[in-house]
């Protein structure tokens, strides 16, 4: 079914989402991809503090192309989520409620999703120009030196995603292949 939700997302709202739901997200989400995840992971390993709160927040696996003058962002589609599988369970255990990417996730990530009542969304891969139109504001909040891989705070309006793994662990990629 089609749903409109506000990010950050609370546990009850996340629990109501089902694999296959078409969801429009509005509100605040954060970007992080390979290099930012590696740095956050190392920060946690050394007992440091992360540059953003995980509780109820959504991370979008995305590194944009540069914005032209007067625009908030350049092309802004999802990157392959499985490269973040090594790091995602720890972030989910800290309260991360949603991830937006594309492609399959590992068993360990699925278990962490179920354990924490979280959700994995897919955005349409390769639709970066279209998806950029749902981003109204973008601000680098950490790891500026990483360029496109810096952590950005995004304001989004009706950002279109599909629930791929819901809080019960149902995986849409697997159910469509089984059909």
């Amino acid at each position: 079914m089609e749903r409109h939700i506000q990010a950050p997302i609370n546990k009850e709202e996340a629990a109501a989402l089902r694999a296959g739901d078409y969801v429009y997200i509005s509100g605040t989400i954060y970007t992080a991809r390979d290099a930012a995840h590696k740095r956050m992971y190392e920060t946690l390993a050394h007992g440091g503090a992360l540059p953003l709160e995980m509780e109820n927040n959504v991370i979008y696996y995305m590194g944009p192309s540069p914005a032209r003058e007067g625009r908030p962002i350049g092309s802004a589609g999802p990157t392959t989520a499985s490269r973040m599988d090594k790091y995602a369970p720890d972030l989910l255990d800290l309260g991360l409620i949603g991830m937006i990417g594309k492609g399959k996730r590992s068993q360990a990530v699925k278990e962490a999703i179920v354990r924490n009542g979280a959700v994995y969304f897919a955005a349409v891969g390769g639709a970066g120009a279209l998806l950029s139109k749902s981003i109204t504001k973008s601000e680098v909040i950490a790891y500026d030196d990483l360029g496109t891989e810096a952590i950005r705070k995004l304001e989004v309006k009706d950002f279109p995603v599909i629930v791929v793994i819901d809080s019960e662990g149902t995986d849409l990629y697997e159910t469509v292949m089984a059909e």
Binding site: G74, S75, K104, V124, G128, A129, G147, T148, Y173, V176
Partner: protein, 280 residues
Amino acid sequence: MRMVDVADVTRNIKEMCIEANHFLAEDMDEAMKHASQDEKAPLGRQILCQLQDNLKIAGEDMIPICQDTGMAVIFMEIGQDVHFTGGSLEEAVNEGVRQGYVEGYLRKSVVGDPLIRENTKDNTPAVIHYEMVVGDSVKITVAPKGFGSENMSRVFMLKPADGIEGVKNAILTAVKDAGPNACPPMVVGVGIGGTFEKCALMAKKALTRPVNEHSEIPYVKELEEELLLKINETGIGPGGLGGTTTALAVNINTYPTHIAGLPVAVNICCHVNRHAVRSL
């Protein structure tokens, strides 16, 4: 002997990097249009229609089709009667990439060392393949390659006894393993024969062949058609969310090989299969 100023190479490559990242070549554009009309699954059709909207926005607003504007792969087919003037050809190619990516608002996705991983901040160096041909012209193909699909590509060193069935299995295995990760609908470039590196290069080059053109070798053309049907029967579909459009084309190149070997490379490309071609 014909003189070609390397500054012309730089200027053309700069323009082609920008062009390829904002506009699909005609063959890909047509194939994507047809796919959005032919797809049977409702969600699959919805995704393909979004990709149509995406292409329209990219061209009209000059926003790259995909944020992964790729590592610049460049094929230089150089006539043996050409003499380059004005400096180093390799530097001229990289300068074109540098100018295109910096001035064209394209993403800088290249790290200078695979393990130290510091971004070079101008998307150089390019991956350049030179080929000497007869004549006095220079044909340049700029094919920016995204890594979501590149990561799902494979080389299989099959045995001669595996034969054509082994080749089919290898290609289908690579496509099924790639699934949603490679941003389907994909284009599948295949190299069969040669050596380890030759088959990989053939697979890459196969991706630059227009998706509406088949191999000139009859059995290879049949293989391309059969594999496209089989891949589309997997049900992976647009975005990996189910449907009848998993691939737009299977392009296969072949080359003689050793009596002991049957190398097969499968280079997968997403639906943003970019190639700009110009002759100087």
